[in-house]
Amino acid sequence: MFQPLDPLLHSELRLAIMSLLISADEAEFPYIKEQTGATAGNLSVQIDKLTTAGYIEVEKTFKGRRPCTLCRLTPQGRQAFEQYVEALRSYLEVK
């Protein structure tokens, strides 16, 4: 029996953002942009979607005089990611 895949995470860019954040405490916007190869506009839209769902939290701060956008996973996002991976297992028949 296949488990349902979270539609919010079942997108290349959003999944890449979540995977990146799961292995780091927090990451700056330019770093996520560079690692995913996404455009700034597209990345902003996807981050907004994940923020609205409560999967990640965004902190706008300053680094010296430059504005800095920090993204980090929320406990809810971590749980959703774990459930997504668990669901993937059922598709791949990995024990």
Binding site: S11, E12, S23, D25, L88
Partner: protein
Amino acid sequence: MEENKNLTAERSLEIITEQIERSRRNITSNSSCSLICWGTCVFVFALLIAYLWKNHGGPAWNALWGVMWILGYVGEWFISKNKQPVPKNFVSNTIGQVWATFGMFMGVIGFIFGLAGCGLLPVAFTVSGDHFNAHLYVNLTSIISLCFGIASTITGFILKNRIVQVCGFIAGLGGFFVALQYPWSEQLYVMAAVAFIGLIVPGLVIYFQNQK
């Protein structure tokens, strides 16, 4: 990356693995910069102080270690300011804490030995008993080498890197025993070797192993 409604389970798994692995490599590789920076500082200053101690005065040149601390921190700040910000994770935080603890302990020990150098504290002890009479002295390089080795070996265990573990082991125990043979300025050559084996080599190994 584009929005893809027909994402397969295999492709999803590939994205997750790729991103986690890439992130891990970036973070680990970034940790190596501090090891190389501080290792180079210790290596250069050890040789410089050894030369000055031998040819232009005496152990008073050890005060230059204080300059090394300042230069090391300025150098690290400059490097972190000019490079692309890399996030931190549990591994990089733990490595940072291990070396910060090492630095803190060495700073305090160095300060205490500085006081000893000014004649304010003893660094040699005479132990007398019924059956033996021994004159003991504290060898700072031996202590530092041992601590270097411990910190380096722990770093190797955190990174699960056998080369770093072995380098730490050799630098720590090798430096400890070899430095005991040289109570005077020659022990600074041992310190330079310990910095090279215990900091620079592990730093370079971590850096190159995690390059794309």
